[in-house]
Amino acid sequence: MNNPVIIKGNKYGIVVVLDAEMEFGELKEKISEKFRDSAKFFDNAQMAISFEGRKLTNEEQRDILNIIADETELHVVCVIEDDPKKEEVFKKALDEKLMELSNTTGQFYKGNLRSGQVLESETSIIVIGDVNPGARIVSKGNIIVLGALKGTVFAGATGNTNSFVLALDLNPVQIRIADTIARSPDKPVKDSVKETKIAFLEDGNIYIEPLSKEVLNDINI
């Protein structure tokens, strides 16, 4: 291999590809050389680092990190191991955390959503205004409409079954919570009273109920 140390960038930071054959002492020199050359380029960026191409013991890893610290201003935030299993675990943990976050944090939208308009959100969403037929809201968390909801809504878009939909006048064309879909009756119910209602998921069914104290107590955000 004519280039024993290769530095590549990825989404989170850099990947250092190391020669598998070379003797470690010699490799260390190459590494310090390489990082010295590129110190200017990295400046004092913060990034994660991962190693490829060679199995490293903890000691060897520490040696390399020390070299990087000596030669550059780079802040290594963490070392990522190239292990699909662990990655999967991390991803799951991250997703769960994000899902929790999307449920508890929210964003506001002021104005009427009209036919053909789509509002998508990573977090819960509170609409101050009406959602008209033909409009659509997709949220990973909850959807709250301070107005009339007559369009299509999709709460818990990434599969969060604890999500709910709440509106001052809940009369949607279609409601989706996680993987469950409910639609409005084909013949509209005449003379239905306008009251604040909440739609939630229970035992695989979507229930719509007037907002009462008991229902409120059952919600866990």
Binding site: G111, R114, S115, Q117, G129, N132, P133, G134
Partner: protein
């Protein structure tokens, strides 16, 4: 400086052209200098409704392409000296004009006229974008049918996205007897969904068909629709006019009463 008003709807066949003709004629009756612009390139009919078809020499595309001056393309109305029509081209399509060109045209017309009414084609394609390009305010026409209201809603959304300062609603072809039976949406229902200000309700009136076929707008005439259009014109000018009582046909008695009121 004049004001540019675009008359639009989303759905076709709800009465944009009839509204343009009547509102334009009404404003002219109220001593405003008005020009009606038919922006529906490819299909034109405002000239037919106005009864001016046989006088067309030049059209909108001729003006924009510089084949003639604006003055040459404007057709003076046969009844009102301060009412003009700029007809659309029929042999071209909507892509022959850009929104920027329409905006420039609107600016030029503003210097000459008090009101410039743009009759918008149905739909949300290029023609719609052209028609709203230079407009200061919009009149959204809908009939009390779910499909028309839905499309009107989409149009209002697009107008808002294009930062239209003012949009008003005209509910056209309302049949009061059907509303009473609960078979038709009332104007209140429509306003509730669309959530923009109402500027007029026009009842379903067979005189409209007659007037359209004769090329004589009926605004201001002694029909319910004629009065409704006149009221819309007055509201455009900023007057506060009470809404018409559309309850059934006007009896002799109420007609007498309204005559007395006028005097």
């Amino acid at each position: 400086m004049g004001e540019v008003i675009v008359i639009t709807s989303g759905k076709g066949g709800v009465g944009k052209t009839t509204t343009t003709a009547n509102v334009g004629t009404g404003l002219a009756k109220l001593d405003k200098k008005v020009v009606l612009v038919d922006t529906d390139i490819g299909l034109r009919n405002l000239d037919v409704v106005m009864g001016l078809e046989n006088r067309i020499v030049y059209n909108l595309v001729d003006v924009i392409e510089g084949n003639c001056r604006i003055k040459q393309a404007l057709i003076k109305d046969k009844r009102y000296p301060n009412l003009y029509l700029l007809p659309s081209a029929q042999t071209r399509d909507k892509t022959s004009v850009t929104p920027e060109q329409m905006q420039k045209l609107a600016e030029e017309l503003k210097e000459e006229f008090d009101y410039i009414l743009m009759d918008c084609p149905a739909g949300i394609e290029q023609g719609f974008k052209n028609a709203i390009a230079g407009a200061d305010r919009a009149l959204v026409v809908t009939t009390p049918e779910v499909s028309a209201v839905r499309d009107a809603d989409r149009i209002i959304g697009l107008l808002e996205a294009n930062e239209m300062k003012q949009a008003h609603l005209i509910v056209n072809r309302l049949r009061n007897d059907m509303v009473k039976r609960g078979d038709m949406m009332s104007s209140t229902d429509v306003v509730e969904i669309l959530a923009i200000d109402l500027i007029g309700v026009v009842p379903d009136d067979e005189n409209i068909v007659i007037s359209t076929n004769q090329g004589e707008p009926l605004v201001g005439s002694d029909t319910l629709a004629g009065q409704a259009y006149m009221n819309i014109c007055k509201r455009i000018l900023g007057e506060e006019v009470p809404y018409l009582d559309l309850n059934g046909k006007q009896g002799l008695f109420s007609k007498l009463a309204s005559l007395l009121k006028k005097n």
